[in-house]
């Protein structure tokens, strides 16, 4: 089990040093782990699996936007689990559940969930509606068509830097919209 933990930690450290491929692999690897965590969290409150993917996505977004709060000298998963717990609690509270902050054992984080999600997660319409036209174009091109920032820049007649700035702002905007959803 310790091998598993240090694997993600090493990958994220590499990602912090600029390894884009490593970063992609961390995010892809975290998704099933988070799914398992959230499912168990929901089950504890007697909730079904419908919104599990919502919380998984919100957590991944938060992991991305708050990477700077992870201390590289510490293992990655406890930090990820803390983010997941926060998002889980937010989701439960939004649903009107009185939530007592749970304290889990770290071992729980290592169980992976590969079952396909029941829902596809957050309603894209609702999310994208919060973005301005340009941001929406950029996000759609990258997320759905798999275009790179460079390709989007060429297509829209913008500099790559401007596309990246717009993308980052769009992600922050999405996070804000999810909070008040």
């Amino acid at each position: 089990m310790p091998d598993q933990t240090s694997h993600w930690t090493e990958l994220m450290r590499a990602a912090n040093r600029g390894d884009a491929h490593a970063y992609r692999r961390v995010l892809e690897g975290l998704a099933p782990i988070l799914r398992g965590l959230v499912k168990r969290g929901f089950a504890r409150y007697g909730l079904g699996p419908e919104e599990v993917e919502d919380v998984v996505q919100e957590t991944l977004l938060a992991v991305h936007l708050k990477r700077q709060t992870w201390d590289e000298r510490q293992p990655l998963l406890p930090w990820v689990r803390a983010i997941a717990q926060n998002k889980l609690i937010d989701n439960l509270r939004r649903r009107g559940r009185r939530v007592h902050v749970p304290i889990d054992e770290i071992g729980d984080a290592l169980a992976v969930d590969d079952e396909p999600a029941i829902s596809n997660g957050v309603d894209a319409e609702r999310i994208l509606a919060n973005l301005n036209g340009r941001q929406r174009q950029i996000v759609q091109a990258i997320s759905i068509e798999g275009a790179s920032a460079r390709q989007v820049a060429d297509r829209l007649g913008m500099t790559e830097g401007a596309v990246r700035v717009a993308l980052h702002r769009a992600l922050k905007s999405i996070a804000g919209a999810l909070r008040s959803a």
Binding site: Y23, L27, T69, W70, I83, N86, A117, G121, I142, S143
Partner: protein, 215 residues
């Protein structure tokens, strides 16, 4: 319009991966330098250092007052930075703040033992409590606002607690400034009025934190 599947989200996040992560340490340092300077400037133009500062520096009560305020500030700053991380134990961090009140309590105990009981009330009430209660919160505003802005890159487990500790930090900073002006070195006075003033700032911080530190 197709749903935003998790894969699509990951693709998007990965594409934003090269964006530089903001540094909390750097932002907080800058915010405190600016906020602190503004507070110091406001202090210098309104209250100013007490005229007998030279003599005061040779008295234990004054030196202790300043040292205590600085200690409280240092502890609050440490706690404030720690609470920006989501996996940090909130209870343990708050427990670390206990040193300052304990020292203050010890000083109060000492004063009660060494001063005649009929002087206790006069000492506690003091002569410039009103100034203290107004000055400390006012002086804390710039550091508080700056620190909260900087802490928005954090992910505190409890935004209101993080805000309260930020308020504590700004309040104890302001208290240190005020202590240099304040002619009253009685531990009873400090325990009553400085604590109240700092508590006011902590409450302000909690209210503000609840809104601006959400993530």
């Amino acid at each position: 319009m197709p749903d935003m599947k998790t894969d699509a989200l990951i693709r998007t996040l990965a594409e934003d991966g090269a964006t530089r992560r903001p540094s909390l340490a750097r932002r907080l340092t800058l915010a405190l330098l600016i906020g602190g300077s503004l507070a110091a400037g406001l202090f210098a133009t309104t209250l100013g250092v007490r005229p007998d500062i030279g003599a005061a520096l040779h008295t234990w009560p004054f030196v202790f007052k300043i040292a205590l305020a600085l200690l409280a500030y240092a502890l609050a700053l440490w706690a404030c930075a720690r609470l920006a991380s989501p996996q940090v134990g909130v209870r343990d961090t708050l427990a670390g703040l206990i040193a300052a009140p304990v020292l203050l309590a010890a000083a109060v105990g000492y004063e009660l033992l060494t001063v005649a009981p009929d002087a206790w009330l006069t000492r506690a009430v003091g002569s410039n409590a009103r100034v203290c209660l107004v000055a400390i919160p006012l002086l804390s505003l710039a550091p508080l606002a700056g620190a909260l802005a900087a802490l928005r890159v954090g992910a505190p487990q409890s935004p209101s607690t993080a805000g309260a500790v930020t308020g504590l930090m700004a309040g104890t900073f302001a208290a240190t400034l005020y202590a240099v002006h304040c002619p009253d070195d009685s531990a009873l006075f400090v325990a009553l009025w400085y604590s109240l003033a700092v508590a006011i700032v902590a409450v302000l911080g909690a209210i503000a934190g609840r809104r601006v530190l959400q993530w």
